[in-house]
């Protein structure tokens, strides 16, 4: 191999994670400076495999980014999908128990007129997209510009030079180990890749991002909290699809997660979107601060699907794809920042550190009024991409310039008004929290406990009997990992599982893990089926004893989403 002419272990700009944000960064950077050496690493086997979202996309940032970088993008193959399904019918329904539904869309519209945060839920003019397809499309655009994208490579850690106090690269995961961790004949030691500038765009709860936050000492003003989103794509009959309509989005509050005053009370709601080709996508998003030890969002989704209002559209349908993800919901105050003094002694707090920038869900740029983060991921990605080429001669300035740009542009403006929404509900519950949140921006910063701390011995009552078929769900997510590798999930201390979790919470991870990874073996709780993991990371956020750690498996493992 003739590797001499070029050092293949170094990149000028290294982007970790090929989601829409990371690819927006790559596309923007490359379109500004076509000689920039830009490498994108992606842990999924192919682009789009690990991206999942609703998704109702606020399209402006994407259009802006693509219009600038590739003016003729609308003529490219795959662009028709993005612009193909404009929202024309948008409703918010309050499902009051199993039967009653109240259309509260008019309240939302009124809210919009009055400039209340409630109005942010209005989706007219947005587009229903599959984020997997969007990612594939952006990947093609990036490749055509000359960006280097390498799927199937998992980054295990970020490399920090303590004496220089500087991040200098990343390390890939070791591959070809057997279950016990012994090298097989095809063992490949994790390579080190150095870079001048690194953009972290791993999505929610990024492994490298958290490693970076810990190593360089970034701080969040309040704890990051998450929701767990479960989504299914259901193929229905032509008649049912026509009944639903081709440009429709429905969001729901209430059943099965919340019933005012009398409970249950889990933050969140449901959704149903037109998905084309006689497909409807249905999902539920549940705040990971649920307090019920036996709660599983998938089971809640089953109840949701059986609500007559939803059931009328999907009766007799076939689930053709399914997936789960977490959503970072802490908002503005939960963005990790590095505090330093800038020009003239002014304190600046950078979203990143020196030559490293954090974008999208990794940073926590989700607007909880809109229940959207995708537009901010693309916007922050575009900004980081622009900054990365600007700062190539002075990489250590990148995080600072980037943070300034975030503040100048829409991202921070977008996040700020919604900054207290999630915390208010976490503090006061949905019944009081929802009304209170309309004046959220006048309420001072509230800290909230981390999701794992909220577990109690209270039971959630489901209406649909029976066990959820996790095995089929995993198959519909297309998950696969090489079987004979060390488990990428670990339980730190069995003491908690055996003596605490068992009596108090009946080993909650066995219930809530959507992929059925955990099992009781003897008296232990073990990640018995790591190869089923769909990379949602709910376990490491929700284990009531903060006793589970998720790391990356060999490259290419995980779900294989096609149109999530």
């Amino acid at each position: 191999m003739a590797t001499k002419e070029k050092d293949y272990r170094h990149a000028s700009i290294l982007i970790v994670g090929a989601g829409p944000g990371g690819l927006a960064a790559a596309i923007t950077a490359k379109s500004i400076n076509k000689d920039a050496d830009i490498v994108v690493l992606e842990k999924g086997e192919a682009l789009g495999n690990h991206t999942i979202s609703g998704a109702v996309l606020e399209i402006a940032p994407l259009k802006r980014m693509l219009d600038k970088a590739v003016p003729d993008w609308l003529t490219l193959e795959g662009a028709d999908h993005i612009m193909g399904r404009e929202v024309r019918s948008d409703a918010v329904r309050f499902l009051l128990g199993k039967k009653l539904t109240i259309n509260i869309s008019s309240i939302i519209k009124l809210g919009k007129k009055l400039g209340l945060p409630l109005g942010e839920m209005d989706n007219h003019g947005n587009y229903v997209v599959s984020i997997s397809k969007l990612t594939k499309f952006l990947g093609k655009v990036a490749l055509s510009l000359g960006v280097e994208i390498y799927p199937g490579f998992c980054v295990k850690e970020i490399l920090y030079d303590k004496t220089e106090r500087k991040i200098y690269g990343i390390k890939l995961v070791d591959q070809g180990l057997d279950k016990e961790g012994h090298p097989q004949s095809n063992y490949l030691k994790g390579e080190t890749i150095t870079a001048d500038i690194i953009i972290l765009s791993e999505g929610s709860d990024g492994l490298v991002t958290e490693d970076f936050v810990a190593k360089t000492g970034l701080k969040r003003e309040i704890n990051q909290v998450f929701s767990v989103g479960v989504k299914e794509v259901i193929r229905v009959s032509k008649e049912r699809y026509e009944l639903f309509g081709n440009n429709r989005v429905i969001h729901t509050l209430g059943y099965p997660l919340w019933f005012p005053i009398f409970g249950p009370d889990v933050f969140g709601g449901g959704f149903a979107y037109s998905y084309g080709d006689n497909q409807i996508t249905i999902g539920i998003i549940a705040g990971a601060d649920w307090k019920y030890y036996n709660f599983n969002p998938q089971k809640a989704l089953v109840d949701f699907k059986h609500h007559p209002f939803i059931y009328q559209f999907i009766e007799g349908g076939e689930v053709i794809e399914a997936g789960v993800k977490t959503i970072p919901e802490g908002g503005y105050h939960a963005v990790p920042r590095y505090e330093q003094s800038g020009n003239g002694g002014k304190i600046i707090r950078t979203v990143g550190y020196k030559n490293v920038m954090i974008i999208g869900d990794s940073a926590g740029f989700v607007n909880m009024h809109k229940i959207k983060g995708l537009h901010n991921a693309i916007e922050s990605g575009s900004l980081a991409g622009q900054v990365s080429v600007q700062c190539l001669n002075n990489p250590d300035k990148a995080a600072e310039v980037y943070t300034h740009m975030l503040e100048q542009n829409s991202v921070i403006d977008d996040l700020k008004p919604a900054r207290n929404f999630r915390a208010i509900i976490a503090k006061f519950g949905s019944t009081i929290g929802f009304p209170l949140s309309t004046i959220g921006k006048y309420i001072p910063k509230l800290n909230i406990e981390r999701d794992f701390e909220s577990m109690t011995s209270t039971m959630f009552k489901y209406d649909t009997p029976g066990k959820f078929d996790k095995a089929t769900f995993v198959a519909l997510a297309g998950t696969k990992h090489r079987e004979d590798q060390p488990s990428h999930l670990s339980i730190l201390d069995q003491h908690y599982c055996i003596n605490k979790c068992d009596p108090l919470f009946d080993r909650a991870c066995i219930t809530f893990c959507p992929a059925g990874v955990y099992e009781q073996v003897g008296d232990k709780t073990l990640p018995a089926n790591p190869s089923n993991c769909i990379h949602c990371k709910t376990c490491q956020r929700k284990c009531p004893f903060d006793n589970i750690r998720w790391t990356v498996p060999e490259g290419g493992g995980g779900p294989r989403y096609k149109q999530m």
Binding site: Y8, R9, A46, E148, L188, I320, K470, R560
Partner: protein, 694 residues
Amino acid sequence: MSNYIVLVKQVPDVTQITGNAFDPETGTLKRGALPSVINKLDTDALAFADKMRQASPGKIVCLTMGPPMAKDILIYSLSRSADSAVLLTDKVLGGADTPATANPLAYAIRRIVKDMFHGDNNYMVIAGMQSVDGDTAQVPPQVAEELQIPCIAYATDVEFTSNKFRIKKIVTGGNQWVSPKTLPCVITVAGYDYPLFASFQRSRWARGHAVIHWSAGDIKPTLFGCDGSKTRVIKVFPPPKSSRKNKHVTHIHEFVSELVMSYKKGGFSSVFETGEADYLIPSKRADGTFNRNYEVTDKEVRLFNRVAQALSKLGITEVHQLNGPLVDRVQAILDEKVPKRMMMEMFEGYKITRPSYTGDIWVVAEHDDEKTNDVTAELLGKASNLAKLLDVRVGAVIAGRECKHMLNELVAAGADDVYIIENELLKDFRPGPYRKVIADVIKRYEPQIVLFGATPQGRVLAPMVAYRLGCGLTADCTRLDIKDNTRRGDIAILAQTRPALGGNVMATICTMNSKIQMATARPGVMRKIKSDTSRRGNIIHHSVALSESDIEFDIISTELGGGRTKLTIADVIVSGGKGLRNRDNFNKLASNLSSVLQKKLNCTVEIGASRAAVEQGFIDRIHQVGQTGTTVSPKLYIALGISGAIQHLIGIENAGIIVAINSDPQAPIFKHSDYYLIGTAEEIVPQIVEALKQ
């Protein structure tokens, strides 16, 4: 120092077939809906070559033939271990069957040797045994045949000692270590479980590395594209709906009692309808000159019927009355428009009443020196059936060191003539001398059809013989019929139906541009006739001069499993896979379950295994079930920790009831089972054993 050429192929990823992949109207698989990937066995071949290179350094060159997008799999190979990559791409090379693929590949290999190895013949061609889309296993042996070099098939490991490679290969019932006597040679890999990982550095290097593009003009093949092909796909259709129940078991007790009941009822039926052949040559058809009820496709039958009706309305009764002006008159009567060209073809076709092929129907027998194997009798059964329709004789060819004692079996199973070739050099099965003698006897007597078993032996021998004789060959047939394709002037031809794309589609294929129609047929699918020891047949001795130089590799050692298993006649088979993790576990679980089944069902039970389990050393090769092992048809098949590679699934297709236990909810075997249980065998087998005891 050696060099290595690895043949790779881009295939649709059949592991990602979902509901979306099928055309809702026709029920056929949309190939374009699946992502394209490198063929799994070719990744094994690449790792195999890499292992060889570690012992004997040299270049690895990857070669593929395909559309421009096949470049992706070359990048894949370069980012793992290849030094150079050649993409053979040209419109004129498209639409090729196996000989028309093997020929350009062989010409490209010649050019690689000349250009990149500077004429050094010290090289090996390494390929996956077969591709997942065609799964014919024909191309590598045919490349060897074109290059006139040895082919060592079904390799699973390699060692380098005293400056020579020793290759471990699968043979029926065991393993064999062999060493090629001369280089170059072709090696096909049946499995090597340590595929290479891409390194980041190599991936970046590969991205900037120019893949070498060659067109047909650069290599000047002699047989290529549609025109060079010897077979033609006539129709593609969805496989018969699997009768497998696909029941996800959650209650062990209910399951066990249901299982025992259905076992006693005799289990479920196989997926293949072999059907009784039904055909009359045109001259014998009672109901008139224009009866064409035996076309390959139903569509043609309907078309001919309508035209026949129209002709009868017009009072046409004789073939010689058909002419150009008549076309318009027929067209006027038909409710549906039939193009003029098509109608002229039909008219011309009507004039042909004699079969397109002449000669007998032959079966190439397979044996273990003591007796012939089951598939031989099955093929003779089928051949007898077909021969009756064509009014020709059934021939059987048997070759070996000594075979006289097996002649009666062949006659009893349906052979009218037995061609026997005995030679000391045919002692062990080696493709080199065998292909020579079999091709020779076929050439001498010119039968119209030659059938081989789709066994490890037949699947390497048949492609070489077919290539040598310039004949078409269809692999792994599950149905053989005599049909007409009148519009093309083909009368009484062999319609060869086989599954493709991992069993997700069926294709009916006919031979063209050949004197002889050849096919291999899956073991356990065709039906034997009742053995009749009173039958008498002709014995024809045929001799072919063989010399030591025809022997292409030395057999260093053969490890055959102790004795024989009765896998083919067992009532129940309990099979274990790699999921059982170790030998002790395998033995314990498999034997516990077998002994309790034996008592409960009062039946014979045998232990089987997947290839991977054998490779891991859990059990001897003699127990291996599947395409490179034994094809089985027990009343009940229980698979423990077997994921269900296509080669394994093919081997159990004819089992009555299939039960699968696997911890992976996505295990492909579940789709092919009647009952499946998700979980580890350690967990589930004891529960089943307990339930059976009650």
